[in-house]
């Protein structure tokens, strides 16, 4: 068994790798959020050439893919309890997002609900994911 704070002869320790992966995931998420906000802002402004907006969309998608891979990397490097908390939070957010989104869609299709903008579902998923992390950390501490 080696210390989690000290690098091993084979390379950085698990904790160092975890911290690095966590930083990478956070930076990628922030870049994606900035790209999303910037592209949304450009798309809603008049007089912006289509090519610029398209470049923004592609950049946002690339940042999103980078965020997914960065989070995968973090999940692989993190401690087993943290991984459990992360997976439970992701399951909660995904489950409620899918069930809530599909329920809303059914209401719209059946004529009870109005509007087709499902953007709120993604916001709710992000909030549920964050809440799940907080609840998980409390539950296991």
């Amino acid at each position: 068994m080696h210390s989690t704070d000290q690098p091993t002869p084979a390379g950085p320790s698990r904790r160092q790798r975890e911290q690095r992966a966590k930083r990478g995931s956070t930076v990628a998420s922030l870049l994606w959020a900035l790209a999303l906000m910037g592209t949304t802002f450009l798309a809603k402004r008049e007089g912006i050439p289509f090519a610029v907006v398209l470049a923004g969309v592609i950049l946002t998608a690339l940042a999103g893919v980078a965020t997914i891979f960065a989070h995968f990397r973090y999940l692989r490097q993190t401690d087993e309890l943290q991984r459990k908390i992360q997976l439970e939070s992701l399951a909660l957010a995904f489950g409620i997002g899918v069930v809530g989104g599909m329920s809303w869609w059914l209401l719209v299709v059946s004529g009870v609900g109005k509007g087709t903008d499902l953007g709120f579902v993604f916001v709710a998923m992000l909030l549920l994911y964050s809440a799940g992390i907080l609840v998980g950390c409390r539950r296991y501490s």
Binding site: M1, H2, T4, D5, L81, Y140, S141
Partner: protein, 67 residues
């Protein structure tokens, strides 16, 4: 699952952080195992048994639910 982790750690005068470093996990994980809120994976349970030089069944008791 009840376990003797806290008792074994106290016998060696280790803090939760000391044990976490030796097991290469977070302090939160050690705390969650000690309080019975989290059951460790098989590799971690074997790691704990190896560290204390005891058979797994002398550390973990699957028959008795923890408080």
């Amino acid at each position: 699952m009840k376990n003797r982790l806290k008792e074994l750690r106290a016998e060696r005068d280790w803090t939760q952080s000391d044990l976490a470093r030796r097991l290469d996990v977070s302090r939160q994980t050690v705390n969650a195992i000690e309080t019975g809120k989290y059951d460790p994976s098989l590799p971690l349970a074997f790691g704990i048994a190896r560290l204390f030089a005891l058979p797994i069944e002398e550390i973990f008791d699957p028959e008795e639910a923890s408080a």
